[in-house]
């Protein structure tokens, strides 16, 4: 056994140098490295320094001392380092981190030669003694953290740092594990991490897919910084991993959380070669869409308006392009995505079903970097630009279609005058003032324009700006102030040969201020608390004549205004090592205020034009209606074994904003309506229970979750409701109860040649619309399946690496067909046949299945190459399955005809090329 006594333990200095004199010197230096400065001191005194050059790095110092004691000079120049010093005679011994102690712990030096010279005894906290006598089977670098401070009585210290790749990109979602302490953390989106470690020796390991595993031995003396630069391993190729942090599966208290590491989705074959974060999300259990061209996502049986989609804290109202075929979020600038479909942390509110929390990457602060992607539908460029080296950076991303161009090449007559194009742009500026203060400013804009018939033009836009200021007050307390503004608007313009041209539009705008605080009370308690306030302003619709000949009358539906505020507090309470409870309470409060004119209706009768009794006027700022209530967010985790946990959660949520849509699937023309005196806020309760197990050192992850959800005041509509430009929406809406339940099973394999995941969900979603009259009742007032009720949903995403550069990926989806309303008969009316509809959603379109394949080629990894390239050759819907999107019935030429439409009915091959530099 090799035994090394690393530290020669002598005596600590400031209190202790004794016999030696401390001469005064005058010294002046600028931009010099430490060894040079020390050499200068040596020439001016008869001291001699003992140290190793490589301790100091390349940091340069400047200073001026006049008739100053050598010890003061040393303290000055060594203050920023982790170097301690000790003076013995005319020798000054520099040590890294260690304070030189006068005494060893009992038994420490048994069987070892004692070389200690005790000089003076001091009282201090338990010193760190580092006995490197373990048998070494691997070479582990030892890193000293912090300078030992004898005054400190603390038992744990903060280790923080940033992890970047060799290219300088932050590595987020990296597991930082301290196996000896059974502790761990993950790096955030910017690659930063922070963990509290006990004094002394700790082994640190990093784990993540796509990056090399690193193991370091830390000797912790004090708070310190450990920045790591990890090499991206070749494993990166072909990992289709969606979740970066394996241990979260079993460790956190939250149920129903999905994380998507956006960098890893590039191999997943997608339609028309567009990398699409939200489409990848739908391969996970519990998240689905009504169909390939349906805008919006249904999470655990919830409606599409029940998802809070946040990009850098700002709400994106319509994150899709072209009817939902593409998502509007840039995959090259988005760093990570967390989707909360079960437990929703108390800081979020305002939507019933889920929170999609997307964060833009922080730009590289060291060097310029970029990425370009060229696909058949869009081109995409993202750039990372350092502004002030090491302090601030900008990331910008832009994407646009060339479809208009392709459209113009086609000589198809029916497409004359049609157009379709979209683009989106995102930018984020990050400025780090110091370790405690950080500013982020983000902006997002998307724009879609299309016309399907030559006389109409439809366009919509999202705009979002957010500003966040992060501050560490002290090591226990940090806060973030966020200000956001989001805007969504669409225009529908009509221009024909027959006059009455018009331009119409809709706008919703919201501004929000959030204060989010985090308080690390103790090992057992971490508190999150905060307050937020949101101001909504909706212009529900206006229409203007499109030309001077048009007789269309200018009309503007009065604006709606409301304020939604909330306070919350949440405690993450580690009751025992096994039991973790996350208990949160949010209180939200909503006020709709004037000016407004609101119709009143006869009591007890269905609201329609015939039951109007009058109009109530509300002054500017006058309160029309208030709603509010407590929202409980509780979840708990209990470790059955260290890799097997069970979780339980209960949530209730309020939602004060509703989409108006009389379509079976969501569309960009759906408008948002604020709760008012007639339309009550939607409410939901969700119970979830889950079992989580990791196998083989987190290579396999298994989860099984069940949920039961009830909701109230879900908005639905009378058949044929006119919702746009309607001043009395309350006459067209119904509110009903919802019920949803399901079981979600997911198994992932996180490593190896073959990796990926399989998910299966059994879920049901029902709604009940039982009004007082026939027109307010659907299906006799009984529960019936919602438009997106798809009981069986199976997804597999698999990747197989052939070599380090070549891989295959496959994506398979099977879903029960969605319910549609099918006619029960025909009748003759007005010289034509029409179909008779009865109960809603009693029939299903055929089941959906699809297989996509892709072949990925990674450019070679030669460092001197300017750009790193990546080819993706994919075929969407390889089986050519004609999956029906909808079934509909048309009276054409007096006869009823049934049609089935599908969006992608044949295999679609695409090639995309991507390179980054």
């Amino acid at each position: 056994m090799r035994k090394i006594l690393l530290l020669i333990l002598i005596l600590y200095f400031p209190f202790t140098y004794s016999q030696t004199t401390d001469p005064e010197i005058s010294l002046s230096f600028s931009n010099k490295e430490l060894p040079d400065i020390l050499a200068e001191i040596e020439t001016k005194t008869n001291f001699q320094f003992f140290f190793e050059d490589d301790w100091f790095g390349v940091a340069k110092y400047s200073g001026e001392y006049s008739q100053t004691k050598v010890t003061e000079v040393l303290e000055g120049i060594l203050e920023e380092t982790n170097i301690n010093y000790f003076i013995r005679g005319n020798r000054i011994i520099l040590t890294r981190g260690s304070i030189i102690y006068d005494r060893l712990p009992e038994g420490f030096l048994e069987n070892q030669e004692e070389t200690t010279v005790a000089v003076e005894e001091t009282q201090s906290a338990d010193p760190v003694f580092y006995n490197d006598n373990e048998e070494q089977t691997e070479v582990v670098e030892t890193v000293l953290i912090g300078k030992e401070d004898r005054q400190s009585g603390r038992s744990t210290y903060k280790l923080s740092g940033r992890v970047i790749s060799e290219k300088g990109d932050p590595i987020s979602g990296l597991n930082i594990l301290i196996p000896n302490q059974n502790k761990g953390t993950i790096t955030d989106i910017d690659g930063n991490y922070e963990i509290r470690l006990p004094k002394g020796i700790n082994i640190l390991e990093t784990q993540a897919l796509g990056v090399d595993k690193v193991k370091k031995r830390l000797v912790v003396y004090n708070d310190g910084v450990l920045n790591l630069q990890l090499e991206e391993s070749f494993e990166e190729l072909g990992e289709v991993l969606v979740e970066a942090n394996a241990r979260d599966n079993v460790r956190t208290a939250l149920t129903g959380v999905e994380r998507i590491d956006v960098a890893q989705i590039k191999n997943i074959p997608l339609v028309l070669g567009e990398r699409d974060i939200l489409k990848v999300a739908t391969t996970l259990p519990g998240i689905s869409t009504a169909g390939e061209a349906a805008s919006g996502y249904n999470v655990r049986g919830g409606k599409t308006d029940q998802n809070l989609i946040l990009l850098d804290e700002g709400v994106i109202y319509n994150p899709t392009h072209f009817f939902g075929i593409f998502s509007g979020l840039n995959p090259f600038t988005t760093g990570d995505v967390s989707i909360y479909k079960g437990s929703i942390p108390a800081e979020f509110g305002g939507r019933l079903s889920s929170v999609f929390d997307l964060n833009t990457k922080t730009g590289n602060k060291e060097k310029f970097a970029g990425e370009v992607s060229i696909g058949p539908v869009t081109g995409n460029v993202s750039l990372q630009i350092p502004i002030v080296e090491g302090k601030s950076s900008l990331i910008v991303g832009g994407r646009g279609t060339y479809s208009d161009w392709i459209l113009n090449l086609l000589e198809e007559e029916s497409l004359q005058g049609s157009q379709a194009s979209f683009y989106d742009a995102v930018a984020k500026y990050n400025h780090k003032f110091d370790n405690n203060d950080e500013l982020n400013v983000s902006g997002y804009y998307s724009d879609d324009v299309y016309s399907i018939t030559s006389d109409s033009l439809f366009s919509y836009r999202n705009r979002m700006v957010s500003l966040s200021y992060n501050k560490f007050f002290n090591e226990k307390h940090k806060g973030e102030l966020v200000i956001t503004n989001s805007n969504y608007d669409f225009n529908l313009d009509y221009e024909s040969d027959f006059g009455n041209d018009f331009e119409s539009g809709y706008t919703i705008n919201e501004s929000e201020v959030k204060l989010k605080m985090k308080y690390f009370h103790s090992k057992a308690h971490t508190f999150n608390y905060g307050i937020n306030g949101k101001y909504y302003m909706v212009s529900p619709g206006q229409i203007n004549p499109g030309s001077s000949e048009s007789l269309i009358e200018q009309l503007s539906i009065p604006k709606e205004r409301a304020v939604e505020t909330a306070v919350y507090i949440e405690d993450s309470f580690e009751v025992t090592e096994k039991l973790l409870i996350n208990a949160g309470l949010r209180y939200s409060f909503y006020t709709a205020f004037g000016p407004a004119q609101i119709n009143t209706y006869e009591e007890g009768l269905p609201r329609n034009d015939n039951t109007t009794t009058g109009v109530e006027n509300y002054e500017n700022g006058e309160v029309i209606e208030t709603y509010g209530g407590p929202e409980v967010r509780v979840s708990g985790r209990y470790f059955l074994t260290p890799t097997f946990s069970t979780k339980l959660s209960y949530n209730n949520t309020y939602q004060y904003i509703h989409t108006l849509s009389n379509n079976t699937t969501a569309a960009p023309t759906d408008t948002y309506k604020l709760s008012d005196s007639y339309i009550k806020p939607q409410r939901a309760n969700q119970f979830a229970l889950g079992l989580f197990k990791n196998f083989d050192e987190n290579i396999y992850e298994l989860s099984l979750e069940g949920y039961y959800k009830t909701s109230d005041n879900l908005l639905d509509y009378k058949i044929g409701a006119d919702l746009f430009l309607n001043e009395n929406i309350e006459t067209e809406v119904l509110q009903g109860e919802g019920e949803a339940y399901g079981a979600e099973f997911l198994i992932r394999k996180n490593k190896g040649r073959l990796n990926g995941y399989l998910g299966y969900t059994y879920s049901r979603s029902f709604i009940k619309l039982a009004g007082d009259s026939q027109e307010e009742t659907v299906n006799n007032g009984e529960f019936f399946p919602t438009n997106f009720d798809k009981p069986h949903d199976f997804s597999a995403v698999l990747n197989y690496k052939l070599t380090q550069r070549f891989s295959f990926s496959a994506n398979f989806v099977y879903q029960t067909g969605r319910p549609v309303t099918y006619p029960i008969g025909k009748y003759n009316f007005n010289n034509s046949e029409y179909v008779l509809y009865s109960d809603r959603n009693q029939f299903r379109i055929p089941n959906y299945y699809r297989l996509d394949l892709s072949f990925n080629v990674e450019g070679n990894h030669k460092i001197e190459k300017f750009a790193h390239s990546f080819w993706n050759i994919s075929v969407y819907n390889v089986l050519g399955r004609n999956n029906p999107y909808s079934v509909f019935f048309v009276t054409d030429g007096g006869e009823v005809k049934a049609y089935q439409s599908s969006i992608f009915s044949i295999p679609i091959p695409t090639i995309t090329y991507n390179f980054r530099f």
Partner: protein, 385 residues
């Protein structure tokens, strides 16, 4: 107010997708259970006439209709009671002529199979007359043709909602004018001079679509350039002289809403987002069982009609080849052997075309010569040349 556009042509789609893959295909109708539902059609107008109420029943989706409902007792009460009598199965005509009066509540009452149905009381809305019908040759959604548009001026400010029906009548010619006919005399084909008019015919079609207009969202109460009918240039109805009779109904707001929903749910709509279909009630219900589904609307409306004519030469070069029901390519002369000819004459499949110098009889398909295949050779009473 319905402003959201209806994307009529479902095949037009996002270009790339359209060309690559998207598809809309017709599928067979399958019966998914059936409910017996009564269908009531009745509009009483301000015309003095015997009004008509139609009763029928819904039928299974995979069967053919109509399914008239006979044996009902129908009356409309207004100033007095008007009794309706069944003249054909499901068609009930008022015994007396009457015209709807303003300010009177009219109510429909039907007794059938022991059930009693009653409409809401309805009143005659305002009146309005059709100002002008105009025909113009235009390009409409990528197609060239003749559009007939309507303008009106409201004489009474309470007319806001309109429904239109039309009857188109057109004069047309067969592809060829032939002077002789072939008949069989003792089993032998014999050439005789043409016995009836087969070259010039007339045909009428009733409108089948739901045509609605409202001036609710307009600054003036007038219907402006409403497209009633668009006829593509290759349609044979344009080939000679065309006439359109437009009937304008001023209807109630609720009737307008009813027809609009019917139209929306039966249209092809937007491919990507389909309107939620379902049952929607009109203004008639079973008085003993208000939950029973009843289809139809009983409306009182004021009527105005107008007819317009135009000729082929008004919009097209008279020398150009006019559109026909049968393409000329399918009208080639043949020289059948005698037995084939005899059977063709027996089955009325061919017409005489020419006789060869050697006496051979050349024929063309009947539809190339006989216009009564597509219409009638009787000139309608109203027709003005």
């Amino acid at each position: 107010m319905k402003l959201l556009l209806k994307y009529k042509n479902t095949l037009i789609l996002f270009a790339i997708i359209a060309t690559l893959s998207s598809c809309v295909e017709e599928i067979p109708l399958e019966s998914e259970g059936f409910e017996d539902v009564i269908v009531i059609e009745g509009t009483i107008t301000n015309e003095l006439k015997q009004h008509q109420i139609k009763l029928s029943q819904a039928f299974a989706i995979d069967t053919a209709g109509p399914n008239p409902l006979s044996g009902a007792n129908i009356k409309v009460t207004g100033n007095s009671e008007y009794i309706f009598e069944e003249t054909e199965p499901g068609i009930y005509i008022s015994r007396d002529s009457f015209a709807a009066q303003t300010g009177v509540n009219y109510q429909l009452n039907i007794l059938t199979n022991g059930e009693e149905y009653e409409s809401a009381p309805m009143q005659l809305p305002g009146t309005s007359s059709i100002g002008e019908l105009e025909a113009n040759r235009i390009d409409y959604r990528g197609e060239n043709g003749v559009a007939i548009t309507l303008n009106n001026h409201t004489s009474n400010g309470s007319a806001i909602y309109y429904r239109y029906e039309y009857i188109e009548t057109f004069k047309f010619n067969a592809n060829y004018f032939k002077v002789n006919d072939l008949i069989l005399v003792d089993g032998e084909p014999v050439e005789v001079p043409k016995q009836k008019e087969e070259y010039t015919c007339y045909r009428s079609n009733d409108s089948q679509e739901i045509l609605l207009a409202t001036t609710n969202s307009l600054s003036e109460d007038r219907v402006n350039d409403l497209l009633i009918k668009f006829i593509p240039s290759d349609d044979p109805s344009l080939s000679n002289r065309y006439s359109l009779l437009v009937k304008q109904f001023v209807i109630s707001r609720d009737a307008y809403a009813y027809y609009e929903i019917l139209k929306e749910l039966s249209g092809s709509d937007n491919l990507f987002s389909q309107s939620q279909p379902g049952f929607f009630a009109g203004n008639i219900s079973n008085i003993n069982d208000p939950e029973e589904k009843v289809i139809g609307y009983f409306d009182i409306s004021s009527v105005s009609t107008k007819r317009t004519y135009f000729n082929y030469e008004d919009f097209y070069d008279p020398e150009s080849i006019r559109p026909r029901f049968v393409s000329f390519a399918r009208c080639e002369e043949t020289l059948p052997d005698i037995s084939t000819l005899i059977s063709q004459i027996e089955q009325n499949l061919v017409r005489w075309s020419s006789t060869t110098p050697s006496g051979g009889i050349q024929v063309v398909p009947r539809s190339c010569v006989d216009c009564t295949v597509f219409g009638t050779n009787e000139k309608p009473e109203f027709w003005e040349d």
